[in-house]
Amino acid sequence: MTASKTIPIAVIDYGIGNTFSILRALSHLGYSPEMVQEPNKLQKYTHAILPGVGAFADGIKRLNERGWTDIIRQWCADGHYLMGICLGMQMLFDESEEFGVHQGLGIIPGKVKRFPDASIMDGVLEYKVPHVGWSNLQLGSNQNSWLGGALEGLKETDEFYFVHSYIPQPSNSNQIIATTKYADLDFCSVVSSNNVWGCQFHPERSAEAGLRILHNFCQLKSVKATFK
């Protein structure tokens, strides 16, 4: 946690999502976040955040139309650090079934599916969709994956703010860094494939524990990412 904070952090601006709180959170941590509108400027950066709220199809369409898709893929393949947040995380996968099947960035193998329909028990819904609220993280199948990564130093009792109706399902269980329980359902809440990270919750809206994740991510260096 002693590395320099002066590195600029790119916040990918593709005309969707509320970027104000991500910018403020990064500034609060002492970083220099910069909104990046032009894909060819991404090369300047070692770390980038892919934010996103709203519908999958709309998000991926905007990324495609503005020429981000191939550039983000290549930039990640070159070993740079990307964190997708909420819809930004979901778009890292191969496809989503939100309002029809739509192709994602395909950086992390897997699909995005809607929460299963809840059953009604004794006149009360088993759970509500969207899932809105604070939940904790549990270790994924790779027990060491919190060490040296974006979740370094966090506890399983720390809580994070979620708001979503769809859940990612990574094909490779080793890439599930953390799961979260909603009602009786466990879903992947943090995913990572080498230098690419995704959080289903909003770290920028999850108080001190969330800020810690953003800070950890911004401090990631290639040597740290070799744990997988």
């Binding site: 509320n18 104000f20 009360v124 809580e159 920028e204 999850s206 108080a207």
Partner: protein, 269 residues
């Protein structure tokens, strides 16, 4: 029966001009202080979210909140919901650009439900909260009020809730005008009527005067969050002034103390 996983505890700040205010039955607004100072305290003491409502905006069709929201969003990293006088998608855009995560809409929603549908299309369900001010008319009969509870609408609350759910709104903020600011406890009849209809997240508001009342109302299934004003505001004010000048009915707590109490009473919050 599975209840909501964890009930959110949300300080609610009614704003008039630059001030945090609090009334009774949404009237007789009394100045409580500078909102930023209260919000900092709530952020540091366990608040899950913050709700801001501009109490006069819908009367004058403008919004004083943007500066207050900007400031709060720069130093508190929890979700912010902002309401009061929102009439257009541009109003929503402006508030989101100031750092709001969600907007609460009452008057314009009832006057023109298609506005809500358009807002959802543009910003997503997760962003749109429909705020309902309910006033009791008779046994099991509640009417929606608009313009910060100054205007009657003739719209039945249960009917409106059903319509709101069908529109795929993100959340409902249900305020009892009869209990607002009274510390007399939540309107159980109202909440029992609405909760089974709310297949989307439901925030209840109006009447919280003690942690015990909060625990008791959470025995009703289908409540996802509790918005609290007086109980938290008077607590903070008393701490600041180092004295307690309160009505007998009001027992104050901070958000984290309330959450600890609920946990000790085995309520999943």
């Amino acid at each position: 029966m599975v209840k909501s996983d964890r009930v959110r505890i949300i300080p609610r700040l009614d704003i008039k001009g630059p001030n945090l205010v609090k009334g009774v039955h949404m009237e007789g607004l009394r100045i409580m202080g500078e909102p930023g100072e209260f919000v900092r305290y709530y952020y540091e003491n366990g608040a899950d979210e913050i709700i801001y409502i501009d109490t006069v905006a819908s009367l004058y069709g403008r919004n004083h909140l943007t500066e207050i929201v900007k400031k709060a969003a720069s130093e508190t990293f929890i979700p912010l919901t902002v309401g009061g006088g929102i009439r257009t998608v541009e109003d929503i855009q402006t508030l989101l650009e100031c750092g709001a995560d969600k907007v609460a809409i009452n008057t314009a929603a009832i006057q023109d439900p298609s506005f809500i549908r358009n807002a959802i299309k543009r910003f997503g369900s997760q962003c749109i909260v429909v705020s309902i001010h309910a006033q009791r008319r008779g046994p099991n009969d509640y009417e929606c009020l608009t313009d910060n509870a100054r205007e009657r609408t003739g719209v039945n609350v249960a009917d409106w809730v059903k319509q709101v759910v069908e529109m795929d709104v993100g959340e409902i903020l249900l305020t009892s005008v009869d209990r607002d600011g009274t510390a007399a406890g939540f309107d159980e009849e109202l909440i029992r009527k609405v909760a089974p209809l709310a297949s989307i997240p439901l925030i209840i508001s109006g009447g919280a005067g003690s942690p015990k009342q909060v625990r008791e109302i959470l025995e009703i299934d289908g409540i996802d969050a509790v918005a609290i004003a007086s109980m938290f505001h008077y607590h903070h004010q008393a701490l600041e002034a180092n004295k307690l000048v309160l009505r007998d009915t009001l027992v104050t707590n901070s958000p984290s103390e309330l959450k600890a109490f609920l946990a000790s009473e085995k309520v999943a919050s």
